[in-house]
């Protein structure tokens, strides 16, 4: 059977390697210990040796091309043997004994990296079992927690069917099967977390042998996140992201019988209620809280579970584990603040004209908020000063081709920044509708990854809390963020007279590595001009 040779990990910092030269060509006989290719890593050049005797069947990574650690770069097998599917044959990784990668290197014994199966369900071939791996659903996701298994061992599953509910750092999603078969084994139980790329369950394919259970020890459990996304041509790599449906519509609602009865009696849509019981079960107290705040209104404050009828208990100190989202926020903020050199620019904007626009829209029964106007103005200002629309990527500056404005949305467990794409080309009303819709789904944790990644700049507005001024932390890969305070009547000097104007403070945080003070200042001045003379937004 064809054996993959995987890109070895040769240093703790190595994430990928470049093939400098193949020393063997397809069809050549190779013997164990023989050098087959020259490899360039971030540290040095080394030779990759064969681990097995056989013939080089296929080269997957050409000379001068790179591949992530763990990705298959070639196949060795019997003379004339055909590698399963051409192009990107399923690596054997999930098969009973992945053992060591079929390549070894002379140089410093590298920490043995678990053979990372190239992305998605790597069929183990031979008709035994298919590993279902934890998909990577966002760029920051390194692990995911199984909230609930929707199938149990022995259940038939068909391609496209939801298998489990997954909690990531950003949202809850469903994991789908892409093969027909029977759920043979669950590796990661409910409320347990696993790193991206590790197997969480095994399917016995349709017509496959019932329980060809590989020795449990053999189940590869990569400790490091498998660089799944970057693997060359992974068979079904895009699938997990694209096809994972948002865990809303049509999903069974878990609720206690009593909660259902009360909801029915009170004419309350139980789907609108966030359950606090196990697996999100909606229980009586959730219904009572929802009724108390009038369900339709977005939750103004996080629901504090468990304080009902126990005022004394509210004062008792307690500990709780960090949620996945909180964990990532904590980690990212600790990295960003010392890692990205911030500088801050503040100015005051006279908002009388902008407020008038909102009032005129209101008179036309159009819902437009001052914040929508700010989003639009930021987008226009970015378009006019594209030097601010940049990201630092390694030693390169990426100039973004579109103007995508993120908006910070507070959630019970943290915050998330859904992105309004091409905000500079959208009308106020379109922006308004989109902001509302994204914010609502963000609160339900139902955003799709593509809806909160990327972006040119973020707008964070704490004006509704009466905050006059604050500074915000940049959300990489973006290079700037605008912190907006409240619009308030203030006495200002105009033509030597004291007059009252509606003033708002805007503070821009910039990544000084790629944005300088003058660029930020020009952008901010443009933004002020647009907000003080909103008719300019029309041009």
């Amino acid at each position: 059977m064809a054996t993959p040779i995987q890109m070895p990990s040769l240093s703790p910092t190595m994430t990928e390697g470049k093939i400098v030269k193949w020393l063997k060509k397809v069809g050549d006989k190779v013997t164990s210990g023989e050098a087959i290719a020259e490899l360039e890593t971030d540290k040095s050049n080394l030779e990759i040796e064969a681990y097995d005797d056989g013939y080089l069947l296929q080269i997957l990574v050409d000379e001068n091309q790179s591949a992530p650690v763990g990705a298959p770069i070639a196949y060795i097998g019997a003379q004339g043997e055909k590698v399963a599917a051409s192009g990107a044959p399923a690596p054997k990784a999930a098969a009973p004994a992945p053992a060591a990668p079929a390549a070894k290197v002379e140089a410093p014994k590298a920490p043995a990296v678990a053979p990372a199966p190239a992305a998605a369900p790597a069929s183990s071939g031979g008709g035994d079992r298919i590993a279902i791996q934890l998909p990577s659903l966002s760029p920051t996701m390194t692990e995911g927690k199984i909230v609930k298994w929707l199938k149990k061992v022995g259940d038939k599953v068909s391609s496209g069917e939801a298998l489990a509910e997954l909690e990531t750092d950003k949202s809850n999603l469903e994991i789908e099967a892409y093969d027909d078969g029977t759920l043979a084994e669950i590796v990661v139980g409910e409320n347990q977390s696993a790193p991206v790329g590790s197997p969480i369950a095994y399917l016995t394919p349709k017509g496959g042998k019932a329980a060809a259970a590989p020795a449990p020890a053999a189940a590869p459990k990569p400790v490091e996140a498998a660089p799944a996304a970057a693997a060359p041509k992974p068979p079904a790599q895009a699938a997990p992201v694209a096809s994972a449906p948002v865990a809303s519509g049509g999903r069974r609602i878990r609720a206690s019988p009593l909660a259902k009865k009360i909801a029915k009696d009170k004419g309350l849509d139980i789907a609108q209620v966030q359950g606090s019981g196990p697996s999100g079960r909606v229980v009586k107290r959730d219904i009572e809280e929802a009724l108390a705040r009038g369900v339709k209104a977005p939750a103004p404050a996080p629901t504090a579970p468990v304080t009902r009828k126990a005022p004394s208990a509210a004062t008792v100190a307690r500990t709780e584990p960090l949620s996945s989202m909180r964990k990532v926020i904590a980690q990212r903020m600790t990295e960003v603040k010392p890692g990205v050199p911030h500088f801050y620019l503040t100015l005051e904007v006279e908002m009388d004209a902008a407020v008038k626009v909102r009032e005129e829209a209101k008179a036309m029964e159009l819902k437009v908020s001052v914040n929508d106007l700010i989003v639009k103005a930021v987008a226009m200002a970015v378009r006019r000063y594209p030097k601010i629309n940049v990201s630092l990527q390694g030693d390169q500056v990426v100039h973004h081709g579109s103007v995508d404005v993120g908006i910070a949305v507070a959630l019970e467990q943290g915050l998330i920044t859904p992105v309004i794409r091409d905000a500079d080309t959208k009308g106020l009303q379109a922006i308004s509708t989109e902001v509302r819709e994204l914010a609502e789904r963000a609160r339900k944790r139902a955003l799709k990854p593509e809806e909160y990644t990327g972006g040119s700049i973020t707008v964070s507005n704490l004006g509704m809390y009466g905050i006059d001024q604050f500074v915000a932390i940049i959300n990489p890969p973006q290079a700037s963020i605008l912190a907006v305070g409240a619009v308030a009547d203030k006495v200002v000097a105009r033509d030597g007279q004291m007059v009252i104007r509606k003033m708002m403070t805007a503070t821009l945080s910039c990544d000084h590595r790629i944005i300088d003070g003058a660029i930020g200042a020009e952008f901010l001045r443009e933004l002020r001009g647009l907000l003080e003379h909103p008719t300019r937004l029309l041009f």
Binding site: L258, S276, P305, V306, K309
Partner: protein, 328 residues
Amino acid sequence: MPELMYREALNQALAEEMERDANVFLIGEEVGRYNGAFKVSQGLLDKFGSARIIDAPISELGFGGMSVGAAMVGLRPVVEMMTWNFAILAMDQIVNNAAKLRHMSGGQLRCPIVFRGPGGAGGRLSSQHSQSLEANYAHFPGLKVIAPATPADAKGMLKSAIRDENPVIMFEGERLYALKGEVPEGEHVVPLGKADVKREGTDVTVITWSRMYYFCMQAAEELAKEGISVEVLDLRTLRPLDEEAILASVRKTNRAVIVEEGWALAGIGASVVDIIQSKAFDELDAPVERVTGLDVNMSYAANLENATQPDAPKIIAAVKKVLYRQGA
């Protein structure tokens, strides 16, 4: 109201009923000259004589059967089993005769008899002498099964049992006999088939009987400190179950925990859960929890014996679970 020990309350009930009705007699091992293995019949031999306080040989099947015969012909025997573990020997007389005579004779015969004795763990008596066997007897139509927890209920229910026209199985407890409580004097009769709300509460119903009642009260006290209001429902009678009382309480609190000293499988609690789920499904805010003895034979070692049985911390955990509280 005078405070009496559980055994004194039983003694009072026996004496009062024997005075009231000359057909009542007590039979069992050591009930006469030794004044009872657990001193329940203290002084009764002197008072009523050996014709009505009868020392039996160690032959549960024998004196059990004699007593069923006596009941058939008009007497009202009270049969003391030294413990219910020994009464297993008399199972045939209890189940095949006492429980079925009325039915088999087409109503011509009746069997007004009380079988009574201690059940449950007595304290380091190991597996053969520590069983909670009430579920076995509650299984049979034709029997009534009672298991009072307090001295007052012990007195009132024994009096009702003696007056009942059908066989009654009464579970007392080695660890209950010395417990004290207020007991009404004289004609204090507690009806069979009626559960009793021993503590009112609003957040959760804890359903129990016999000795477990004390752990439930202890747990309720602890939980009250955390602001959790526990209603304790003492079933008292296990056959027939007081469905009305169970459902009324669960409808009030929407949550239930059932605490049973015996084993979980085919236990009384399983039947209580069935009543709740079938008749109060829409009232439930959480699955009903059970706290039972562990599914093992009782150990002799004291630490293992304690670990095997329900206790207040286990009950507290179950209550928190049905309340979706942390620390469950």
